[in-house]
Amino acid sequence: MINKTDGTLSWFLQRVTAVGLIFLLGVHLWLLHYKNPGEIIKFGDVAIRLRTLTFFFVDMGLLTFGLYHALNGINNIIQDYGIGTTGRRSIGFILVIIGCVMVFLGGVSLFKFV
């Protein structure tokens, strides 16, 4: 029986988040290691840095894109084993909940510095 779950958006967003991650990781690495090479920073400096919108959005972007990409990838692997429509929907639902919770927790942690 053909499974009627449309995977178009999921496939497309996997590619979008992959490209996004490459870009954001590049920005992240540059900001942390190459913008001021040799700089020694303490937690207080990190806290000041995280108050800036650039860092906030880069880190939230990394968190959101990374989580989507990872959890969607796990969902994809699980679907490879033909577990049936009900199983797919249940696992998909659980992964969405995990993703939302982790984005929320990560967002709250980042927002504390703002």
Binding site: M1, I2, N3, K4, T5, D6, G7, T8, L9, S10, W11, F12, Q79, D80, Y81, G82, R88
Partner: protein, 240 residues
């Protein structure tokens, strides 16, 4: 001086055997011998009960596809000399139920093939012929993909078919693309709906096993990518 080939053949008759086994045969090698010639030799001279499928003997029908020395191939087009060894292992195609010895049940393969509406549906009633010139781009797009002989080699090599029995498989998706990309066909949107799901184009992981084994050098992975592109454009409302 003729050299003997050692041929290990998978044997299983569900009516009499509890478990499958491998029978070993010694066959004198002949010049330009194909694996199909080998099988005929064994069947004629050593074991009349050996079962295998064949028909055209020239790589046109796809009937003799089997697993030869670790790869799905056509027995009639695989020269023994080209295998690089005197020991030949023959098994039935993977991913398909075994009927007897090297004969598999092709029903699951053709059931999935039928699901993509593999036949031409004319867009409009015409009184004349729709002319497509030989060098036209629209023809070049699908010409090579039309060569499929539905041998099942790609289906039997696909890892996704092994893990997900509902996956349509490379051959069905390749056929779907041939028709979706045909400007004369009127069922493109319906076919995209039939293949644009998690047991269709989105199941493929582009491992290229199908490309490696296709006796007609078709690239089903490319066809699947083209279908995906069309599915995404359709979803985003972009007209191609």
């Amino acid at each position: 001086m003729s050299v003997n080939l050692t041929v290990k053949v998978f044997r299983y008759n569900p009516e009499v055997d509890d478990l499958p086994r491998f029978d070993t045969f010694d066959v004198p090698e002949m010049k330009n011998m194909a694996v199909l010639d080998l099988l005929y030799q064994i069947q004629d001279n050593q074991d009349r009960s050996l079962s295998f499928r064949c028909s055209c003997r020239i790589g046109m029908c796809g009937s003799c596809a089997m697993f030869i020395n670790g790869k799905s191939r056509l027995a009639c087009r695989t020269l023994v000399g080209g295998l690089g060894t005197k020991e030949i292992h023959l098994r039935p195609l993977p991913n398909l139920p075994i009927l007897k010895d090297l004969v598999v049940d092709m029903d699951p393969f053709f059931d999935k093939y039928e699901r993509v509406k593999p036949y031409f549906v004319p867009k409009e009633e015409r009184k004349d012929f729709y002319r497509v010139s030989e060098g036209a781009d629209e023809r070049k797009l699908i010409d090579e993909m039309l060569e499929c002989i539905t041998c099942g080699a790609c289906y039997s090599s696909c890892t996704m078919v092994t893990t997900d029995p509902d996956y349509l498989g490379p051959a069905a998706l390749n056929r779907a693309f041939c028709l979706v990309a045909d400007k004369r066909d009127g069922a493109g949107a319906e076919r995209l709906r039939l293949v644009g799901n998690t047991d269709g184009v989105w199941r493929c992981h582009s491992q290229f096993n199908c490309v490696e084994v296709c006796p007609k050098q078709i690239i089903p992975t490319w066809s699947i990518q083209q279908l995906r592109k069309r599915c995404v454009f359709k979803k985003l409302g972009i007209r191609v």
